[in-house]
């Protein structure tokens, strides 16, 4: 579905990603793990077009191959790549329903929007209960559900999630991951960035480990779970 080749990203003189190459396969969950500041968010932001790639290319394959590096975010969304950003970034003064409608901004057909809304509501019933409430009044977990639901409104081919478990109580994290498993079983392609390596490795098909701007390790989830250095660094020994 998506392939990054030798991507380098800089913030001014600081190199955030040195040389990142990875692949996200169709209908799979791919995880990108690493410590704080390793460049995980930068990778997603670069795919989304929020950051510029200084070098390298990003290839999207949906039947035909296209190079999509350094294209503005609205076009990336139109190609079916949607990012649920770190920190959720929901619109605090729009209602839950309006937040979802904003997520469907690129969708032309009204019946399609209606259908997606119902799908999101059946996935997250709590959002339906709170549909008239302002986004800013939701709890952290509900905001994360709203953020994911909002991304799903565009019916993305590739859903990218940046730290969906960040700052949430363990119970809520479990709920969020249950949803991800459900999405996976529906055949959605997901690119997941996580600090919670244990959970991410359990649900993903394939994972990459990012260390200070480089991919240092990759493999399928089960293999990495058994890997010694992964256990020591990311799974608490």
């Amino acid at each position: 579905m998506l392939e990054l080749q030798n991507i380098q990203v800089r913030y001014g003189y600081m190199v955030a990603l040195k040389d990142v190459s990875l692949k996200v396969g169709t209908n799979t969950v791919t995880a990108l793990l690493g410590a704080n500041g390793a460049g995980k968010s930068t990778t997603l932001r670069t795919i989304s077009g929020l950051n510029r790639a200084y070098r390298g290319k990003i290839e999207l394959d949906t039947g035909e191959k296209k190079e999509i590096q350094n294209i503005e975010p609205s076009k990336i969304v139109n190609m079916g790549i949607v990012l649920t950003p770190e920190g959720r970034q929901i619109f605090p003064e729009l209602t839950v329903h309006e937040n979802l409608l904003a997520g469907a901004y690129t969708v032309k057909s009204k019946s399609q929007v209606k259908q997606s809304t119902e799908e999101v509501f059946s996935l997250f019933p709590v959002l339906n209960e709170r549909r008239k409430q302002l986004g800013g009044t939701l709890s952290g977990g509900e905001q994360q559900m709203l953020a994911i639901g909002r991304s799903l409104m565009a019916s993305p081919n590739l859903l990218m999630l940046d730290e969906p478990s960040l700052g949430l109580a363990p119970k809520i994290v479990e709920q969020i991951f249950d949803i991800l498993i459900k999405l996976k079983s529906q055949g959605k392609t997901i690119f997941l960035v996580e600090q919670n390596a244990n959970l991410a490795l359990h649900i993903c098909d394939y994972a990459y480990i990012l260390e200070v701007g480089n991919v240092t390790l990759e493999g399928d989830g089960q293999t990495l779970l058994r890997n010694e250095s992964v256990q020591k660094k990311y799974l608490g020994g």
Partner: protein
């Protein structure tokens, strides 16, 4: 007596509110205070004047032409002046709008010379007369029209922002720009729309004010200052706040003018604003600092 002053205050205030709304919408979406806001309206007023006097266009048509011109001016400014340098600091953009103000004033002076120009009121007819026991209050039709137009404009903007897709995009961008971009919203379009809308509102305010202020290159300066104060008073990020701020400012000025001193009415009005802000730093309807980053 007080009631009379309040009515006169509302008359001025609705014009302040109209100006404030444009400033607030632009600030909310683009995070920018536009110094050239009034000048765009001033230029449009000259256009209206030119069409009425030299082309003998009917006034209503000339007003539409003038507003269309202002919208085009706003869109052009956004596209060719502001957009290419949007990555620069906020203060750099501010200076650009100050430069625009000077250019527009200079151009107006070159084209239409220094004379004060007249624009007839949009409506004439018997003024409304209100009687308080032995005092008569005469309100020209134009002032009543200003009141209506402000009301309908506000209603129109409210409905547009609430119920259209573009309106949703504007609100989303104003709240969280980056998240809006991730929804596929084109921020450029939203910015351009706000600039066009603000310029159109400024033109409307200028045309409505013109019979009283006459048309000259700095005709809108006073109104822009009042609009700015009104916006600050209302919290600067809130359209209802801008309306309340505008009306309140109009009333305060009238009261100060009639009970204290006409010369000092702006001064005292500003003192009142400072007091209000000391009590409620975020403005009357503002929310405590949620800064755009």
């Amino acid at each position: 007596m007080i009631l009379q002053q309040v009515i006169l205050g509302l008359r001025d205030g609705s014009l302040f509110a109209l100006v404030a709304i444009g400033l607030v919408i632009l600030f909310k979406t683009t995070g920018l205070l536009n110094f050239a806001y009034g000048s765009m309206g001033m230029f449009a007023a000259y256009i209206v004047f030119t069409f009425v006097v030299f082309v003998s266009t009917p006034l209503w048509l000339a007003v539409i032409i003038g507003m269309a011109f202002a919208v085009a001016l706003g869109l052009t400014a956004e596209r060719f002046l502001l957009r290419p340098i949007r990555h620069l600091s906020r203060s750099a953009l501010l200076i650009i709008t100050l430069g625009m103000l000077m250019i527009l004033e200079g151009l107006a002076l070159q084209i239409w010379k220094q004379d004060y120009r007249q624009l007839p009121p949009l409506v004439t007819g018997r003024p409304m007369i209100i009687r308080f026991s032995d005092i008569f209050l005469v309100i020209p039709q134009q002032d009543i029209l200003i009141f209506w137009i402000t009301g309908f404009t506000v209603l129109g903007i409210f409905l547009y922002l609430k119920y259209t897709k573009m309106g949703l995009a504007i609100r989303a961008t104003a709240q969280k720009e980056e998240a809006a971009r991730l929804m596929g919203i084109r921020v450029n379009t939203v910015y351009a729309f706000s600039w066009g809308l603000a310029a159109g509102l400024s033109a409307l305010a200028a045309v409505l004010a013109a019979p009283r202020t006459q048309i000259h290159p700095s005709m809108m300066i006073d109104l822009q200052i009042h609009g700015l104060i009104a916006a600050v008073l209302g919290g600067f990020e809130s359209i209802p706040g801008a309306i309340v701020g505008g009306l309140l400012l109009g009333i305060i000025e009238q009261l100060v003018g009639s009970y204290i001193s006409v010369e000092l009415k702006l001064t005292f009005a500003l003192v009142v604003v400072i007091i209000v802000l000391l009590i409620k730093p975020a403005g009357i309807l503002g929310k405590t600092s949620r800064r755009r980053v």
